[in-house]
């Protein structure tokens, strides 16, 4: 633990930093110039459809793949050339957690603890108990969910600085997911960071501070989750005592899809426009009013849906990570 901290303090503020990370397999480009950073205490939600390049990014960070071009650094260490040092401070949950069939959970823990030259069996046993995982069964008899749990136990038991999680909660039931989220929060509260990949936003929106979207090997957007929420559209409906006109509401900045039918109004508005809109509405005599937030998933798809081409906003990626203090403050708020 001490060694890990001294490594971290020497390596600057970014826990993960990739620049132009590219991986080609033969003629297929699996990952194309991905640059991202993850700050201390930050959970980075890494989203994209299956086959978009999430696992490739993760396996490059773990030094299992050699970058075709570009670089990946973890705590200032080169992920490919210094992979052994990187692994000392990283916990990894692979996408399809493969285990040694004949070894029990406890034996897996013993093996990894020996390879790490540290005894983590106590924390491992406690984590397993929280996840309600039986450590005395051979891995081949475990269900997919239980294999996933064991992979999580093995990843967190050494108290790593960074958790690299490739769809860690797929196959785990919702109650256990909550336990997993709690474990993740404790990890970040202690200053740890995480890369959390998923193909659905719902899986990461409760824990992620920022979201990166990867599609066809390209990082198309990086968003602070809070900002995304701020831009999420609210559906506003109102019924008035008298007839109103479109012009009264269409002028409010940010308001869109204004529809007026006699005495009723329907429109969508981002959070920032709500105040001005409400004032216009309340200038009239209101009979009924309704305002509901669209699910984040919808907003998200609206911005980065499958039909949306282009490269997103290149500036947003680096904007937040230069100020780790701000990241942590906002991270706390986002949860």
């Amino acid at each position: 633990m001490q060694a890990a901290h001294s490594l971290g303090s020497m390596s600057g503020e970014d826990i993960v930093q990739t620049a132009g990370l590219t991986k080609r397999f033969g003629r297929t480009t699996a990952l194309d110039g991905v640059s991202l950073t993850i700050g201390p205490g930050e959970v980075f939600g890494y989203l994209g459809p299956n086959g978009a390049g999430k696992t490739t990014t993760i396996r490059l960070l773990m030094g299992l793949l050699r970058p075709t071009s570009g670089t990946a650094y973890v705590l200032g260490l080169d992920a490919w050339r210094q992979s052994r040092e990187v692994h000392r401070v990283v916990g990894y949950v692979p996408g399809e957690p493969a285990l040694y069939d004949r070894l029990t959970g406890r034996q897996h823990i013993a093996y990894c603890a020996h390879l790490r030259h540290r005894d983590d069996s106590e924390l491992a046993a406690r984590t397993a108990a929280r996840l309600e995982l039986d450590l005395d069964r051979p891995a081949r008899t475990l269900s997919r969910g239980n294999r996933q749990k064991l992979a999580v136990v093995l990843a967190v038991m050494s108290r790593p600085r960074l958790l690299v999680l490739d769809e860690p909660t797929s196959g785990i039931d919702p109650l256990v997911q909550q336990v997993f989220h709690a474990i993740l929060r404790e990890h970040t509260a202690a200053g740890g960071s995480a890369l959390f990949s998923s193909h659905v936003l719902g899986e990461v929106e409760r824990v992620a501070d920022r979201i990166g979207v990867v599609r066809a090997g390209k990082l198309v957007a990086v968003e602070r989750l809070q900002e995304l929420a701020a831009r999420s559209l609210h559906q506003v409906r109102a019924r008035f005592a008298e007839e109103v006109s479109v012009a009264e509401f269409a002028g409010v900045p940010g308001v869109r899809d204004v529809r007026v039918d006699g005495r009723s109004l329907a429109c969508s508005a981002p959070q920032a426009a709500l105040d001005a809109l409400l004032k216009r509405v309340s200038a009239r005599q209101v009979e009924d009013f309704e305002c509901s937030e669209a699910p984040l998933e919808e907003t998200f798809l609206g911005y980065y849906g499958m039909d949306t081409a282009g490269t997103g906003r290149p500036g947003t990626d680096t904007a937040g990570t230069g100020r780790p203090g701000g990241v942590e403050a906002e991270a706390g708020h986002a949860r």
Partner: protein, 266 residues
Amino acid sequence: MLANVLLKTLRDQGRTLLAWSVSLALIVATYAAIWPSVQSQPSMSDFIDQMPEAFRSLFATSSADMSTPTGYIQVELLSFMGPIAVLIYSISAGAGAIGGEEDRHTMDLLLSNPVSRGRVVLDKFAAMVLGTFLLAAVMGVSLVLEGSMVDMVLPTDKVAAAMLHLALLGVVFGSLALALSAGTGHTGLSRGVPAVLAVLAYIVNALAPLVDVFDRIQKVSPFFQYIAHDPLRQGTAWDSVLVSAGTAAVLLALAVVGFRRRDVAG
């Protein structure tokens, strides 16, 4: 047994090694059981002498005299059965070393620990070498002990020398399998190429006296290092030991370099 990659690999091979050991002891016991009847049948040697020369070269190394325990074991065990058994084990162990963990997708788990790829290759190599030497030792001990029960007396030091050379033969081809496994990750290829090369090396060495081309390249055959100097009579040939050990060392170095340079299959 889970303290490091070497012990874990030996633990994984435990049942395999036990099965091989029992089989080898039984094979040797079978030969020992037949020995008394062979000894009382001088015509066996005539039978071999009457074989076509090519055939005799393939099955009986040098001048084998079936009426002595040394000649009998030379023909029956050391020319064919012994090498086959040891090679099947060592090539399988070498081929499965790296590619096997990738096939089962456990390499990601193993390498996510702070273990260097070089260390993984070295430990897997060490496990293959230990396993091969164990099997050769089991065969040697069986020969001496089971042989003494049926008056098939073999000189212990010469048996040890023959087994040393046999183990090194296994290690050379096992290292080739390991190098291919580490460099490519393809278990089938890593098993197939050394197996085919072992057959070729065997034929080259055995038919060298008859075929000019083979005679010129005979010395590169690991079978030449293994048996050409007749270890059961002449004992250890240290130059052959050095050549075999050197070959294995070069292949091991290639395995380390190969594995450190490539992507791990996920």
